[in-house]
């Protein structure tokens, strides 16, 4: 029965890091309504790329089946021990979008589907490595597309994206300082170098924190400049990178540093026997709350709260505070783990 509890992440076929990642992603997608044939991904089947998909049922039946596949998959991965089967359903629904609808082609949705599918194909031996290699394949593929395109070396692609298409005033002001096209050319070449560097760093587990740092440098300026999160893409990226950090099976309270009240509350919602209570009763302060929230960040309840907060900030367009929160979380929680990043996650019974 305890597998019905979405906060319970032990005793699954995949490591807790992946359970938490796909559960957070599923909650985010449900809250933002970003799922196949919904929102930005079109209304349903439309001249499929694969002819066979055009011959399965009526459009209404097909679209309903894809939506049900996603909902059943997310339900299963959230409320059962069959996380892989649920992730397979959700992932297939996402891949079905671009395959069965030519006007729904979306790299953001494809990547989200691949995070689910990599989880479905993971096990106790592969740990989180398939997600790591999936990220490497993403950056390598994106970089090959840019390397082989002259417009990325001349800057024409960036110039069209940021100046002609989105008309971003801050970028245009910065570009006006330099000779015409110079900033776009430097930015285009910079993106090519950054993406290749990230792909190379991701091939080694011990350098994933450095890859994450470069990913922030690559993606966050685009979020602020274009004021968009590219549908579910950025959150899928965050959970993918987040899953590469080790989930601590035990978190001990230090009464000299942590808030006794907060730890007590987290203890009530501790379904994984992860928390040991505080020994003393020191007086609370905002600094203690911050230290407690940071140290207990891997607690599933805190991760869910952050997921809901992120969905709300994206919903109401608060991308600057969200960016600051992301940088703060990286600086205070992820960066200190650069020395321990080489440790492989293992299943927790």
């Amino acid at each position: 029965m305890r597998h019905l509890n979405p906060f319970y992440v032990r005793e699954k076929a995949v490591v807790p890091e992946l359970v938490l990642a796909v559960r957070a992603l599923a909650v985010y997608l449900l809250l933002t309504q970003e799922f196949p044939f919904n929102g930005n991904q079109g209304g349903g089947r439309f001249y499929p790329v694969i002819g066979l998909l055009a011959r399965i049922g009526t459009d209404e039946q097909f679209n309903m089946a894809v939506r049900l596949l996603f909902l059943a998959g997310t339900g299963m991965l959230l409320f059962s021990r069959f996380v892989r089967l649920g992730a397979l359903g959700a992932g297939l629904a996402f891949v079905m979008g671009p395959l069965s609808c030519q006007t729904c082609i979306s790299v953001a949705h494809l990547f989200t589907g691949c995070v689910f599918l990599c989880t479905a194909l993971s096990n106790d031996v592969t740990g989180t490595n398939l997600i790591r290699f999936q990220l490497a394949v993403l950056y390598l593929g994106a970089d090959l597309n840019k390397i082989s395109d002259t417009d990325w070396w001349t800057g024409a692609s960036i110039e069209t994206l940021l100046v002609t298409k989105h008309q971003i005033a801050s970028y245009m002001n910065a570009a006006s300082i330099f000779p015409p096209g110079f900033l776009s050319q430097i930015t285009g070449i910079g993106v090519i170098v950054l993406q290749m560097s990230i792909a190379i760093l991701l091939f080694f587990r011990k350098t994933v924190v450095y890859a994450t740092l470069l990913a922030l440098v690559l993606h966050l300026p685009m979020v602020l400049l274009m004021h968009m999160t590219f549908g579910p893409f950025l959150f899928a990226l965050v959970v993918a990178y987040g899953s590469l950090l080790s989930w601590p099976p035990s978190l001990a309270c230090d009464s000299r540093l942590h808030s006794n009240v907060l730890v007590k509350w987290l203890g009530i919602l501790d379904f994984n026997d992860q928390i040991s209570r505080c020994a003393g009763h020191e007086r609370d302060s905002p600094m203690r709350w911050l230290r407690t929230a940071l140290y207990f960040l891997p607690h599933p309840v805190i991760l869910l709260a952050l997921t809901v907060l992120t969905a709300a900030m994206v919903r109401y367009g608060k991308l600057l505070p969200l960016t600051i929160l992301t940088i703060a979380a990286f600086w205070m929680y992820v960066w200190p783990q650069r020395k321990s990043a080489a440790i492989e996650p293992r299943p927790v019974s």
Binding site: V107, V137, A142, D149, D151, E159
Partner: protein, 118 residues
């Protein structure tokens, strides 16, 4: 690596290898479907469809092809050509010809013309 370890790695590695191979294959094509090409190309296009010499209205064009008549396409010009070809191959009552005028990454305008077989 033991055979049981290999078995556990194999499905995932095949999945990732397929993506890489498909990305390389799509580099040789003018379309981007299941390819890792996020916002790599910016194509500004305009679709016009003609019946007996008269242009179809904006609503008729958008209803037929499922996309805006004039808009940005963020993948590849070939995706537009494939869409027009697919619709005209399957949906009856189509126009005599369809013209897509497009500019890729701000380059000079190019034109693709689809004509019904008489």
């Amino acid at each position: 690596m033991t055979s049981s370890t290999l078995k556990k790695w194999l499905p995932g590695l095949l999945f990732l290898s397929t993506q890489l191979v498909n990305t390389l294959y799509e580099l040789t094509q003018d379309t981007r479907t299941l390819s890792w090409a996020p916002h790599t190309t910016q194509v500004f296009y305009r679709i016009e469809a003609f019946q007996n010499g008269a242009a179809l209205g904006k609503q008729a064009v958008e209803a037929r092809y499922g996309i805006a008549q004039t808009q940005w396409e963020a993948h590849a010009p070939g995706n537009l050509r494939r869409l027009i070809a697919s619709v005209e191959a399957q949906l009856p009552g189509g126009p005599d010809s369809v013209r897509i005028a497009y500019r890729r990454n701000g380059a000079p305008e190019r034109t693709y013309l689809w004509k019904a077989r008489l």
